[in-house]
């Protein structure tokens, strides 16, 4: 299995979720994060103290999927999260050795 982690723009979350549901991906986990990258925040002058807002609010999703559908999932996330503007984010794919469903103790693919 693969663990797909994507950092996306917050307001694209609903679309991404919808897209994954279509693919029959049963679940995902979401966290609020701050992103630092090419996309630069505007230079704020807050009451005279100048600084660059480097960190931008992003959303991180983590979704475990069977290896065979990993590429489709990456595809789907890309399409749904794409706005074409800098800062759209990244998708990271890692290998996942084991998954357990706490409720039932089911393992791996059965646990997804």
């Amino acid at each position: 299995m693969k663990l797909i982690m994507a950092v996306i723009k917050p307001f694209t979350l609903e679309e991404v979720r919808a897209a994954l549901t279509l693919l029959g991906v049963p679940g995902l986990t979401v966290s609020e994060v701050k992103g630092f990258g090419r996309q630069k925040g505007q230079t704020e002058i807050y009451r005279g103290a100048e600084y660059q807002v480097n960190f931008l609010p992003k959303v991180k999703i983590e979704v475990a999927v069977p290896s065979e559908i990993a590429d489709q999932v990456v595809e789907a996330i890309m399409r749904a999260a794409h706005t074409g503007k800098i800062g759209d984010g990244k998708i990271f794919v890692m290998d996942l050795e084991r998954v357990v469903r706490i409720r039932t103790g089911e393992l791996d693919v059965a646990a997804l």
Binding site: I45, R47, G48, A49, Y51, Q52, V53
Partner: protein, 453 residues
């Protein structure tokens, strides 16, 4: 002339006399339940300005790690000054003593048991004593809320880096050595500044442009310079963590300010009404002026901007509130909005000091604008009394000069004394937390608490 000085709080009685409020002109002065009711309510309103008003306004502008510590400062100052005022502050400010400071005849509020149910005669014995229609307890309490908010305003300048112990020492000395004397100069019937010097009319400061705002503003500037910049200033992101608190705080300051300004009429009368009206108008004008100036120069109208503008307007109209009409209030507001926007952004940025929450940029600059324009726009009849039927003479150059003197004196005395007090405090307990502690945040380091954990 003499009376003009007491204009600040005394003259309010004049309208009371003129406008047939309960206090008739008969021999024995009586308490007026209506005036007393308004002053009781005003006292509650002004207390609300500091807690929770100022605590939220300042607390909302700092970073998360310092939010509680910042709110703690306003609350602590409120408690500390209450005791100081009861012990000695009130006595030094409002007993006759000399033109420069009061005496100890009200030490620990002695004598309050005797005339708790009689109308208070401010400056009894002095030829310019002013008769009020409220008990001395209420007068003392109303004034206490001013004595509380003034030092609390200073905390905005050294936010994020001062020791809690240093705060206690500094505020104790400052309240006694700086606030009480200046309040005496301007508001005591025997005070020299209110009396007028060089044959000029007395300084006109209705609700505290000099005593409260310029005083706190310059003290804040000195603190900012002495303590130095916050670590990471100009480099780290120091955006306010909770702008909603800042906006709510500004709102409570606005509402409470009705007690501050209209309450300074020491009665529920026509002058109080006019003071409330001009306060509202100047505040709204300043808020819009700031936010439009910001929109034009920075590209976006910010929530923090409109809130700051409102406070700037409240500050500037304070000394003028019992002296001017709606038209001039509008102008004072616009001037304050633009002026303080410049002060809190360009000026601070240019000079490069770190007045964290703009105690000087808003209260210093705003107070100066207001104090000077009071001399320009004062409308005599509002401050007319039997003694001086003209009231504050209108647009007279003399009055303007007198205002300049009051402003300069306050800037110099408060600035120098603040510097001395900081030096003493530093010697006793030190001023600033350790570098590591500042980076970790005052909430955890000083108070062992954290927000949203």
């Amino acid at each position: 002339m003499k009376r003009v000085l007491t204009a600040c709080l005394g003259l309010a009685l004049a309208p009371a006399l003129l406008n047939g409020s309960a206090m008739a002109a008969d021999a024995a002065p009586k308490l007026d339940s209506g005036d007393t009711a308004w002053m009781l309510a005003s006292t509650a309103l002004v207390l609300m300005m500091t807690i929770p008003g100022l605590a939220m306004f300042y607390g909302g502008m700092v970073r998360r790690k310092n939010m509680l510590a910042t709110m703690m400062q306003s609350f602590t100052v409120c408690c500390l000054v209450t005791i100081l005022w009861m012990v000695i502050g009130y006595s030094l400010a409002f007993t006759n003593g000399s033109p420069y400071v009061g005496d100890l005849s009200r030490f620990f509020l002695q004598g309050f048991g005797a005339n708790w149910d009689k109308p208070f005669l401010l400056g009894a014995g002095a030829d310019s004593a002013t008769q009020t229609t409220i008990p001395e307890t209420v007068y003392m309490m109303f004034q206490m809320t001013f004595a509380i908010i003034t030092p609390a305003l200073i905390t905005g300048a050294f936010a994020d880096r001062m020791k809690f112990s240093a705060l206690l020492v500094f505020m104790t000395l400052w309240s006694i050595l700086v606030y009480s004397p200046i309040a005496h100069w301007v508001w005591s019937p025997t005070g020299w500044l209110g009396a007028g010097v060089l044959g000029l009319p007395g300084a006109a400061d209705f609700a505290g442009g000099t005593v409260v705002h310029i005083n706190a503003g310059i003290a804040g500037l000195v603190c900012a310079l002495v303590l130095g910049k916050r670590i990471g200033y100009g480099h780290d992101n120091m955006a306010p963590y909770n702008v909603s608190f800042a906006l709510i705080g500004a709102s409570l300051l606005w509402v409470g300010w009705f007690g501050f300004n209209a309450g300074s009429a020491v009665g529920a009368n026509g002058r109080a009404g006019m003071a409330m009206a001009v306060t509202q108008i100047a505040t709204a004008a300043a808020a819009l002026a700031w936010v439009f100036a910001e929109w034009g120069t920075k590209g976006k109208p910010s929530v923090l901007g409109i809130a700051s503008g409102a406070v700037a307007g409240l500050v500037a109209i304070t000394p003028a509130s019992g002296f001017v009409l709606p038209g001039p209030a509008l102008l004072i507001g616009v001037a304050a909005g633009v002026g303080c926007f410049w002060g809190a952004t360009s000026l601070k940025h240019a000079l490069g000091y770190d007045d964290s929450l703009d105690a000087f940029g808003v209260h210093g600059i705003g107070g100066i604008i207001g104090a000077l324009l009071t001399g320009v726009f004062a409308y005599g009849p509002l401050s007319a009394t039997t003694a001086s039927p003209q009231g504050v003479n209108i647009g007279g150059l003399a009055q303007f000069e007198s205002q300049v003197i009051a402003v300069v004196t306050t800037l110099v005395y408060s600035g120098v004394m603040t510097l001395i007090i900081l030096t003493i405090t530093k010697a006793l307990v030190g001023l600033r937390v350790e570098r590591e502690e500042e980076r970790e945040g005052l909430d955890l380091v000083l108070h062992g608490e954290q927000i949203f954990q």
